[in-house]
């Protein structure tokens, strides 16, 4: 890798807070919490670090989610696998879907044992298809602590550390509220830092800036499916609340009150996006009867809070809506996995949750509303176990030499630092607009890439960021790197598949049923790998 010449020897004695672990989990959302629990259950000494706070950080904690929880009956499982295959462009892998359904069933039942208060239906059965974020993640934090895992909140990781052979050997970061630094010597690391939503203001998503992608790429990991990175969620125009279930009962209108043709929450977001390019879009939840309205209020109270506080009755009044980019949070691209332990291919490095690709169960269609939650608990469980097994077998116990990639914003080269806010705004200018990212064209993507590549040259040449700015600088760099993997991949996929919409190639091309792998920092490369065997498609062909 072109970055190797800049690697610097890392002296762990320089850290204010130093600890050894078998497994270090970076990120304390659902995937990280499950990873920490499963690694600890294997007897590993585990430390979990979170940029914010395990229990409230991330897309799940402040929102809530459906869960892909399906009883182990063959007909139901088959129907569950088939239900989104076409939407996802047949990029799912049936073997992975089956094992995620198995694992999710076990994990959700564990949640019930641990005390998650699932509601009962009229037959007295517990309904386990939905988790409310605040309750779920408070429970998970408690389980992580019970498992003996040390949690460091407000302790963003800045970069991974490797040993002399290039195997991952820990990480280093900041303790923001103590004002000092930390370093962990770990035999294995799980990246569970979530996806990248580009600070677009979606509910709980501003912590999700692609940090783990950047850290992993700096030590040689690659990504997969980054063209499936343009999920947009509906929210009131002024609000962060990107909960979208209830828009299924809505009518979307122009300023004058007339309905927007084809606009809808499911299958009609393109019409909303095209309208928003030139004028505001309004919405009213006018198709819910009184009984449904009452169910909505008690089921997702946080949907109503911003509307209530703004004095809007969404059942009787129109309110302006927008589409917020949720990038790879509800998109499905992420770190490429090389085996069933959720290994990344870099020795000692594992990935879970939205930090990893979800194409294996979602294809190119959004993983929001059930699949991502199932993936977080499943991949977290496997990554934690895989990391613990790797740590136990590791003969690298007595490492003495640590190397740090000294990547962007961390390279003490004497040059002036870059302005994180300026870089962030410049990246947002290329990735948020619907006419660049929702509706893609070769010209648009190439134009954006020219700008993004020159931004990368700027941050690459810049020097070390001051400690009070380094977290934002690393976030800006991670979003910039993510945008380049996204658009390079989007340029290569000359078709429309899943959420990836090319206005210049509006049809699905059967010859492009493959995965796109992307990697590299200074030079971004994209290459194809064959998709999994599909029983029906290939027999029919």
């Amino acid at each position: 890798m072109s970055t190797s010449r800049q690697w610097q020897t890392f002296n762990s004695a320089s850290a204010g807070f130093l600890r050894d672990a078998d497994v270090l989990v970076i990120g304390g959302g659902p995937a990280g919490a499950w990873a920490a629990c499963s690694a600890a259950a294997k007897g590993a000494r585990v430390v979990l670090v979170d940029k914010g706070c395990c229990g409230t950080s991330g897309a799940t904690a402040s929102a809530g989610t459906g869960v892909w929880y399906v009883a182990p009956e063959p007909a139901k499982r088959l129907a569950a696998m088939e239900s989104r295959e076409k939407l996802g462009g047949y990029l799912q892998d049936r073997a992975w879907m089956a094992r995620v359904l198995d694992r999710t069933f076990e994990s959700v039942n564990l949640l019930a044992e641990w005390g998650y208060p699932f509601p009962q239906d009229d037959d007295g059965e517990l309904r386990r298809n939905n988790l409310r974020g605040p309750d779920y993640m408070k429970l998970m934090r408690r389980q992580v602590r019970k498992a003996g895992v040390a949690i460091l909140d407000h302790s963003p990781a800045l970069e991974l550390l490797v040993d002399e052979d290039g195997a991952v050997a820990g990480a280093r970061g900041l303790r923001r509220q103590q004002g000092d630094t930390w370093a962990m010597r770990a035999k294995a690391v799980v990246i569970a830092t979530g996806g990248c939503a580009f600070l677009s203001g979606g509910l709980g998503c501003n912590v999700l800036t692609g940090d783990g992608y950047l850290m992993a790429a700096e030590v040689g990991a690659v990504l997969s499916g980054m063209e499936f990175s343009n999920a947009y969620a509906i929210s009131p125009a002024f609000s962060s609340v990107t909960k979208t279930l209830f828009y299924g009962w809505a009518t979307f209108t122009y300023e004058d009150g007339s309905p927007i043709p084809g606009a809808g929450s499911h299958g009609g977001r393109s019409a909303i996006a095209r309208t928003l390019l030139t004028q505001p879009v309004y919405c009213q939840i006018d198709k819910a009867d009184a009984a449904t309205q009452a169910l909505m209020r008690v089921s997702q109270p946080n949907f109503f809070v911003p509307l209530d506080r703004a004095g809007i009755d969404p059942f009787r009044q129109r309110f302006p809506v927008t589409l917020r980019l949720e990038g790879t949070v509800r998109g499905t691209g992420g770190l490429h996995l090389t085996d069933e332990t959720c290994a990344t291919g870099v020795p000692g490095l594992y990935a879970a949750g939205d930090a990893a690709t979800r194409q294996l169960i979602c294809g190119g269609f959004t993983g929001g509303g059930s699949h991502n939650a199932a993936w977080a608990m499943s991949s977290g469980f496997w990554a934690g176990a895989g990391a613990a097994d790797y740590a136990r077998q590791s003969t690298r116990a007595s490492r003495r030499h640590f190397q740090a990639p000294a990547g962007v914003a961390l390279n003490d080269n004497g040059a002036a630092e870059f302005d994180p806010a300026g870089i962030t705004r410049a990246v947002q200018n290329e990735v948020l607009p619907y006419d660049k990212n929702y509706f893609r064209t070769e010209g648009g993507l190439s134009g954006s890439l020219a700008k993004l590549d020159s931004l990368w040259a700027v941050v690459r040449g810049a020097g070390q960021s001051a400690v009070e700015r380094v977290v934002k600088a690393r976030e800006a760099a991670a979003m910039l790197a993510t945008s380049r993997w996204m658009y390079r991949s989007a340029l290569v996929r000359t078709e429309t598949r899943g959420m990836h919409k090319r206005d210049d190639f509006p049809e699905l091309d059967h010859r492009q049923r493959f995965y796109l792998i992307s990697g590299g920092l200074d030079d971004v490369h994209v290459w194809a790998r064959p998709a999994a065997h599909h029983p029906v498609l290939e027999n029919a062909a």
Partner: protein, 107 residues
């Protein structure tokens, strides 16, 4: 964004400083925490949910500061009211009112 820390209600527990995912608050010795980095607030309501004293108010606008009046939100019962909308962790309820399964089977 977070707009109100009520000095009269705050019990100086600094729970908001701990739970805010964006590190928006800063603890102050022997005083209520301050909103130190308001522009970083992502309007996720977690601070208000975890505040045991109903001392916080998150205004619904994620795009701009709206200059909410503390006395107004206290008078109309909104201060700290995110806690009371039905979360099991805030109410201590064993059986939450989550009826999503009835909606997803209809919708």
């Amino acid at each position: 964004m977070i707009e109100v820390v009520s000095d009269t209600r705050c019990i100086l527990c600094n729970k908001c400083v701990q739970v805010c995912p964006m590190n928006v608050f800063a603890a102050v010795k022997d005083a209520p925490p301050i909103i130190a980095r308001q522009e970083d607030c992502q309007t996720c309501f977690m601070c208000e949910l975890y505040c045991p004293a109903d001392a916080l108010y998150v205004a619904p606008d994620v795009e701009q500061i709206t200059h909410v009046n503390e006395h107004a939100v206290q008078a109309n019962g909104l201060l700290g009211s995110f806690r009371g909308v039905g979360w099991a962790i805030a109410d201590g309820a064993d059986s939450p009112m989550d009826q999503s399964f009835r909606l997803t089977s209809r919708g």
